[in-house]
Symmetry: C4
């Protein structure tokens, strides 16, 4: 490489950075949209490859596509590492790890067969679409949902703890009652049945046949009624709170002149921290 | 046609317009109710035609009914076009397009066989019932529900994006775990299973048989618990907001002249703060 | 009967009335509890009669029980008619009609066979338990739930109208797509499948087998997500409102001295109807 | 035992008490964590024992483990009784009864075979984890959930009463309609089907086959829509209330000395109405 190229490298890197990481410029947008389509096609190709009849007919095509996309994404990943100011920050970010993990399955097929289907985790990269298309409205809603789920997590854990205990005990009781018949062949399997029932999924591959078993199952289902109401209640209540907080945050962001305390109450006439009249 | 008829045409058109499009006059109401019953009978006849034993016995009757109703509705559609002041406005409105689409299937059977069942989209026309019977209370509620769903749409899209990614990855994992056994014959099919599971529909035509598969399915179901709570939370929170907004809108938001207190109760005659007559 | 007895008849009737209709006195309570147990035993006996093995062994016993209970309840019903001040009011009340309907099935077996199982509607009479045990707390909650459901009914009708249209169209589409295969043998049956799917019941007796059908079914299920959220949102929002109204009604029932207008707002200082200071 | 040992007994007992019942000290924490792991292993071993292939291979190991854990927990239980100041209070507390019940199944196997699987109720003891790890945040949330469920219980009972009546009547109707076909072999079984349907579990082991039966089932499912919304609405509304009450309780509900304005924000130092320092 000639001297001028070296000289221009920082500038080139900056330009590339804007294209690859940014979404403001026209070329940045085009890069992102091309990338999105490449991901969609790559994921679709993996899915179709798993269908017997497509694989029999177009098996070679899928192999070529898989390698092409993987090489493309490898170049993209290297580029992101090279042009980042702090490569380790990108490499260990959530998206960076997903980007890397989405590359590995294809290379692993060189060592061991199988597992190439894991490429599907590339699908997570599609969630960038909300960021790319500058859908700030969606970002706002995602943030409200995220806040609500984060605020709910303690209640949800307590709830899952209680549900786990319940399904363990109900599963064991059903194993004893149905005594190995009609699919209840072991306690773990019976617990699986209890989860299938209490979540109201109800496959029906395992279902009680004895009168006593059906009676117990009925109780579990009616309990499931009250149980399924709990996470809904938690999340609903938190979404309402998160939405209200977001609106307050957006609408009423005046600060106290004296102490800088953020004033949230719309009817406040004095700062509640320092007593200064607003 | 004689001169007087031409002269009277605008008047006749106006009268017809009131009958066909309006719901205020007695004849307008009768027209609408006759139309509704014709639609109900027409949809019922298509449904029963699809039942083997009815078709074998009354096949000809159904064919006659289908053509009679189609000709009737064709006349009605032509009438609506002719008497509209701005026919293109009706033709490209939602109801106008439905009216047209509901006619085409029968005529298509002249060219190609099959597809006549699509007449069922006439059912959408039945929703007019709320408008026709002047059930303003229902219109109000429909508008509240509509507002709530419209306000929820951004959150619902973010939610569906996240759910889609989840079912893609869980479906692929289950395809790898169950390795083509017990219905998991391809990734798209496994994704279909994941959707059936996470929505708690649970047909059971595809269900995991291995211990590991059942473990993963259990996790997906318990996640489905928290997941199904999200759209409910979103819609509940928005319905509460939409209902409150509607009530505010309905109440006359006048302020008290004396003390400036905002009057929210639509039946208030005196300010509840200072006793001043409004 | 002697003269004194005739004279005392009104007094006897009044005493009987207190026992049969009232729940205040000790004998009234005992009457009600005995009645409840008779209903429970009668319903249980009908249920067990329908179980093949019990019927084979105790068939005669069930017949005797059925007739004994029916005669008992016939006496009770006659008594209620006789001692009521306005018998027609009781006879045409909701509970009165249920009481009568619960007697008829047994007598009908004298004319035609079968149908005696309809005795089960006696179960509705068990709901009296909340009234009998003077569980005023339960009455209050039942009234809150009733108010909420009554306030929701317009929204629920609009919702059911929209869902009915949706399942009709989706059912027909699936009938065309699956073309009579895998259970989709007619449009009504396909609509039944659509209802089973959209309500997330998911029996699995009818389930799509083609890729296109599974795709459409997936869309219907994901729509079912948003759809199931709607009635929940409606009822939740109305329960919150009904609960608040109930509490307001209980807590703050002062009336305006001047015009008698009920004052609901806890912060009101002047009557909003006549301007009188409270 | 020597005199000094007797003398020190109260002191030793106090120290043991802190270790066994307390969670503050380091040794108390270690004791609890060891106990938790012992419970986890014990429950896991019972579950795996029920799996045929594991039982065939490691049957003896499981027997040894079961007895070891039972003896360990027996010692622990005795210790808790001995060192408690009021042993009867512990023995009749909820956790004390669970602790005892979790021991009995193994000893019962000495008298009669079977039932040893009931050891699984030890799983309830795992719920201590929230207390042990001093996760006060979780305790708070559990208390909010508990308050909400307690406040909902009257409404839930009324609701379950209504649902029970509904499924009894719908089950009987379906038994008459399907007349013993396709799984509807008795009224109790048909009621079981009605519960499976109305809770949207939908196993599909019993499913209507006649057109009339499918019609009735459709109505039951659509009613289930409104029905499942009720407990959700109840719990959601109560969780919102319980959460608000908790927050109010936590904030110091002092009033402003100057203007009497109620101070709700726990971090307020000045009244937000008049600026007076609190």
């Amino acid at each position: 490489m000639s001297q001028p190229e070296f000289k221009n490298f920082p500038k080139l890197r900056k330009e590339l950075y804007i294209v690859v990481f940014g979404t403001e410029t026209r070329s940045g947008k085009i890069f992102d949209i091309v990338l999105l389509w490449a991901i969609v096609l790559s994921v679709l190709s993996v899915m179709l490859e798993s269908v017997e009849e497509f694989n029999a007919r177009f098996g070679n095509l899928f192999a070529v596509l898989e390698w092409s996309f993987t090489i493309l994404f490898t170049i993209e990943y290297s580029l992101r590492i090279v042009i980042s100011k702090r490569p380790e920050k990108y490499a260990f970010s959530f998206l960076g790890i997903i980007d890397l993990l989405a590359l590995l399955p294809t290379y692993l097929t060189l060592i061991t067969a199988g597992g190439s289907y894991l490429i599907v985790i590339r699908a997570i990269r599609l969630l960038r679409i909300f960021r790319i298309l500058k859908l700030s409205r969606y970002l706002r809603e995602a943030s409200v949902l995220g806040d609500a789920l984060k605020a709910s997590r303690h209640k949800i854990f307590v709830f899952l703890g209680a549900v786990s205990t319940l399904v363990m005990i109900m599963g064991t009781l059903m194993y004893i009652i149905e005594s190995g018949e009609s699919g209840f062949t072991s306690i773990p399997r019976s617990i699986y049945w209890a989860i299938v029932t209490v979540t109201t999924v109800g496959y029906g591959d395992i279902a009680p046949q004895t009168a006593l078993g059906q009676g117990f199952a009925s109780i579990l289902m009616l309990m499931g009624y009250a149980i399924i109401a709990v996470p809904t209640g938690i999340v609903t209540s938190e979404i309402a709170t998160a939405e209200r907080d977001k609106q307050l945050e957006e609408s009423n962001e005046k600060n106290c002149d004296l102490c800088g305390n953020k004033v949230h109450d719309y009817d406040a006439e004095y700062c509640k921290k320092c007593g200064n009249q607003i």
